[in-house]
């Protein structure tokens, strides 16, 4: 991977594994969303049981060479509950599809979490003091001294999560994406056929943009690709995201293989090919992942991708994510593999997320997937890939080389060791 001769080890090593390691996994414990916040200090995971677990980075050991990827549980709460839509006789799963953090404005943290139908805004705040002294009398009946009344006393740190907004009843189909706008006031939510624009403060309506291109922006949605006749359905929206810097630009990808870059001011559209879309941190590049390849697009160059990486996953929707400085990208794969692509050298490495394959701190050995019949060490035949073990959900720490990814019910945290060269 590093080109310095010894390809037997990668720069990455396992830091932690969260979750039970037994084979019997309860459906509710299966992780369905992973997301670092903007500072990387907090890591949120959502599961099929509708719960969110937030991990916090340990504040000790600040010097770079020492492993900093130590995360411990910060808060756990039930975000969504199963619901029943009586009109349609449909059960609505409580599974968390996406988590997105809002940029931090004050001491509290805010995140958006969504299941198939409902988005919620959660406030996570710490409390380490509590007011005391409301009572005028002590427990034994004596009157309390006036100076001891109504004071703040230190207590054990408590992290509270409270729902601040519930954005409901705006999606007929299953929500697959949410994305916070750079204006920090609006966000979008996308289901299979529509994209809605919300203002964080208003839960009773979503917004539409009136433009000359009324076909795309009409009704309560900013994008609506539902055909008049559902039998003519050929494509669905697979992902949608706001540009990280331009608050009027967003993108959505379709299952048929097109990416549409939309400008809410002028409804300008352009077509490329993709299935899953992620903007780079700088906003200059866009990463798209379709059935077989991962492509990096320069937003200024519409005709073809800047870089293309081969992959071999066909059906499942694997998330992909950018490194903080946009120099590398990562995507999950089958067999609990995940792949890192270095853009500069066009190199990639395949690693495995497994608690068996090495102790924490030990560098991971790269894998190779081969089509031939001969097997060397750390090689696996393409026919032997376990399709039931997938790394669908990934997140890269925005500032450090720390990766979080989820296998079925385990959260893996990997750290890059910089002193291995």
């Amino acid at each position: 991977m590093d080109g310095h001769g010894d390809a037997a080890q990668s720069r990455w090593c396992l830091s932690q594994v969260k979750g039970a390691v037994d084979d019997d996994v309860a459906e509710a414990d299966i992780i369905s969303a992973v997301e670092f916040n903007h500072s990387g200090e907090l890591l949120a995971t959502g599961d099929r049981g509708g719960r969110i677990v937030i991990f916090q980075q340990e504040p000790e050991n600040k010097s770079p060479p020492v492993c900093r990827a130590e995360y411990s549980v910060y808060s756990t709460f039930q975000s969504h509950e199963p619901e029943f839509d009586y009109l349609k006789s449909l059960e609505i799963e409580e599974k968390i599809n996406k988590i997105r953090w809002l940029p931090q404005k004050n001491a509290a943290h805010f995140l958006l979490s969504t299941n198939d139908k409902t988005i919620k805004l959660w406030k996570i705040s710490e409390r380490d003091k509590r007011p005391e002294g409301y009572n005028l009398k002590e427990e034994d009946g004596r009157f309390r001294h006036p100076s001891s009344l109504t004071s703040l006393r230190p207590m054990d740190l408590m992290v509270e999560a409270s729902p601040r907004r519930v954005y409901a009843n705006a999606h007929t189909y299953h929500i697959n994406s949410i994305s916070v706008n750079s204006d920090n006031e609006t966000y979008l939510s996308a289901d299979d056929l529509r994209v809605n624009l919300w203002h964080l403060d208003y839960t009773d309506r979503s917004f539409s943009i009136l433009s000359s291109n009324a076909a795309s922006y009409c009704g309560p949605h900013i994008v609506d690709i539902k055909p008049t006749n559902m039998e003519e359905l050929t494509e669905v929206i697979t992902a949608s995201e706001f540009h990280p810097l331009q608050c009027n630009t967003f993108v959505y990808g379709s299952s048929k293989g097109s990416v549409r870059l939309c400008d809410m001011r002028a409804s300008a559209l352009c077509d490329q090919h993709s299935k899953h879309v992620k903007f780079s941190h700088s906003g200059r590049y866009m990463m798209t992942r379709d059935y077989l390849t991962l492509k990096i697009w320069d937003l200024h160059m519409e005709s073809q991708p800047v870089e293309t990486f081969q992959n071999d996953c066909i059906f499942d929707k694997f998330e992909c994510c950018w490194k903080g400085d946009d120099s590398e990208v990562m995507s999950g794969s089958y067999n609990n593999f995940f792949r890192l692509f270095e853009r500069e050298g066009q190199q990639d490495v395949t690693l495995e997320a497994s608690w068996e394959s090495g102790s924490p701190g030990c560098p991971l050995k790269p894998w190779r997937v081969s089509t031939g019949s001969r097997r060397k060490r750390n090689e696996i035949g393409v026919d032997c890939l376990d399709f039931s073990r997938k790394v669908l959900y990934t997140s890269w720490h925005p500032q450090e080389n720390i990766l979080a990814l989820a296998t079925v019910n385990n959260l893996y945290i990997f750290q890059e060791k910089l002193d291995e060269f």
Binding site: K88, I92, Y173, E231, T234, D316, F387
Partner: protein
Amino acid sequence: MEYKVEAHRIMSISLGKIYNSRVQRGGIKLHKNLLVSLVLRSARQVYLSDYYSGACLNAQGEREGNEWEIVNSEREKFPPSVTDHESPEEPQNEKERQSLEKEAESEANRVDCSSTSEEKHYQDAVLPETLQEATNEPKESPSESTQAELDAVTGDSQPPPKTHVCSNRKRSAEDSESGNSPQKRTKIASASPKDDGEGEEMDTSNVSNLITIFGSSFSGLLSKDGAKPEAEEEDSGQICCDQMLKNLNPWSTAIVAF
């Protein structure tokens, strides 16, 4: 013939997945069903390709001939507001109601886009039949009479008119052994996923029936721009078994995992 077995296997798995998705929690996942139906359709083309040995596999013609059957099967599978196939004709909200009202028209349009005179004859035959049956219905409101039209076409409540049988027989040679009317076949076959329980192990006759049902799902999926295995469509009729098998192999593993 190995590819036929493989195609059959892929179709069985796909059908099982479609069936299971309808009974799973959370309702039908549109994207997943779209993908699985694409695989199913492609596997079906591979499976049926040997019935047209030497001749060019005119997938286009097949699709159009079976279009009248798609109404029932597709509405069963894909209306997002419906869970079971017993009540696809009950729209859940205003939008669904409107789209159903337009279905009758678009049905005619779909049949329109076929080019043969045979199918035009079919079109002329179908519409008067359905309208006639609709007017015979006691229901009065526009949406409900449209319901009746759709009911008539899908055969949930009405026996099939003869012209349906003729057209369908002409277009789908693979059904020549089962002499039943297509609509009855539709009924039986669409019931079989339920009756089979999990719908996983399906014998050949059921699969043949189901092939016709899913045969032309989604007029919109008529691939102008690349559905998956297209090798057999581009060939002038010389279908290489090995090549087809090679095309199928990644699909079989992938569909199992999906």
